[in-house]
């Protein structure tokens, strides 16, 4: 009886070890989904410009590390510019990557897939602004993505 119980314990322990090993193995290769912030610019009948903002956290780990304090947008001639203020919630220096994607008035992406990830370093509890300019005058909406380095 004792021997059987022991071997069952070993089986359970073995299974647990396999599960942990598999989890670690997967985690080693996975890329993180991160934070997404969107801003859409609209004009009312009087011609006043406004920006609708929305922030989505897809990654709870990142939510504890970073905060999007503010999103602003302005026009440089007919081209949309945007700025996001990010704040680190951590006391250590953290590396991130970010990229902007741009959409036109009908929600179609401009130069689809052409954007590149840019590195960003946030020192402990530091707030930093990142800026981007739309590729052309069609842009009305942007999406900011932030993730941990791959």
């Amino acid at each position: 009886m004792m021997k059987q119980k022991l071997s069952r314990n070993v089986i359970v322990a073995g299974m647990a070890a396999v599960a942990i090993a598999a989890l670690l193995g997967l985690a080693g290769c996975s890329t993180t989904a991160g934070v997404e912030a969107t801003g859409k610019t609209t004009w009312d009948e009087q011609g006043a410009r406004s920006l609708e903002k929305n922030v989505v956290f897809n990654n709870s780990g990142l939510k504890g590390d970073i905060q999007i304090v503010d999103i602003k947008s302005a026009m440089a001639g007919d081209v949309m510019r945007t700025q996001a203020t990010l704040r680190s919630k951590d006391k250590d220096t953290l590396p991130f990557q970010y990229r902007f994607e741009w959409y036109d008035g009908s929600g179609l992406e401009i130069n689809s897939g052409a954007g590149s990830w840019k590195p960003l370093i946030l020192y402990g509890r530091e707030a930093k602004t990142i800026q981007a300019v739309a590729p052309d005058s069609r842009a009305r909406e942007f999406k900011l993505k932030i993730r941990e380095p791959d």
């Binding site: 071997s7 070993v10 089986i11 073995g14 299974m15 070890a17 396999v18 090993a21 598999a22 670690l24 193995g25 997967l26 080693g28 290769c29 440089a76 001639g77 007919d78 081209v79 510019r81 990557q97 990229r99 130069n111 897939g113 052409a114 954007g115 590149s116 990830w117 840019k118 590195p119 800026q131 981007a132 300019v133 590729p135 052309d136 005058s137 380095p149 791959d150």
Partner: protein
């Protein structure tokens, strides 16, 4: 005891399989990836430089004013590569030129394809194959109003197991008539490599 051995063996096999998920594989990567592999000039550095230069140029207030009503014609000069590396600097200026053209603010002339242009015009004029009414005459091209010039330099420092490389890309837009630099900006990139205690 036999069961224990079996369990351990299974665990080892499955463990090995799960690890092999990270062993040598071949796959497509993200062309916009910002993962640095060495301190050498890489694809992400090129993309960062191109985006920074174009963003700065098309939002510079005098440029916004100038491009509001017309699309100035620009020529691109070769990048002065002052680094110790062999870098395809034409690729950097190509990226910048492409982005500027796609912004709809500037037009470009391309001096690198002049030989082919001359050959084509000669054929149109002299071969007798082309209808004279549609043949393009020599001396009709538009002269560039501006010249885009750039410099790439590096400062490399090495101390013990740390290599620190600083890149600086400077770009200017020169008015060919007056010689005045109408716009200029620079992008700095720092890459630090620390060699681990164990190999790598």
């Amino acid at each position: 005891m036999k069961i224990e051995m079996k369990v351990l063996l299974t665990a080892a096999v499955i463990g090995a399989f799960s690890l092999s998920g990270c062993a040598s594989t071949m796959q497509y990567g993200d062309a916009g990836s910002a993962k640095p592999l060495t301190t050498e000039f890489g694809s992400s550095d090129l993309q960062q430089i191109a985006e920074a230069m174009v963003d700065s140029m098309i939002t510079f207030p005098p440029m916004v004013e100038m491009t509001a009503s017309r699309r100035p014609v620009v020529s691109v000069d070769k990048v002065k590569n002052k680094t110790m590396q062999h870098i395809d600097t034409e690729s950097v200026t190509d990226s910048i030129r492409t982005r500027l053209i796609r912004s709809g603010k500037f037009r470009f002339i391309d001096r690198t394809t002049d030989a082919q242009t001359i050959e084509e015009l000669k054929t149109q004029q002299d071969s007798g194959l082309v209808d004279k009414k549609t043949a393009v005459d020599f001396g009709q091209q538009i002269g560039a109003e501006f010249l885009l010039t750039s410099n790439l330099s590096e400062i490399k420092q090495k101390a013990g197991s740390t290599t620190d490389v600083y890149y600086k890309f400077t770009m200017s837009l020169k008015n060919l008539k007056t010689g005045i630099l109408e716009w200029s900006d620079e992008k700095e990139i720092r890459k630090v490599f620390k060699r681990g205690t164990f190999g790598g």
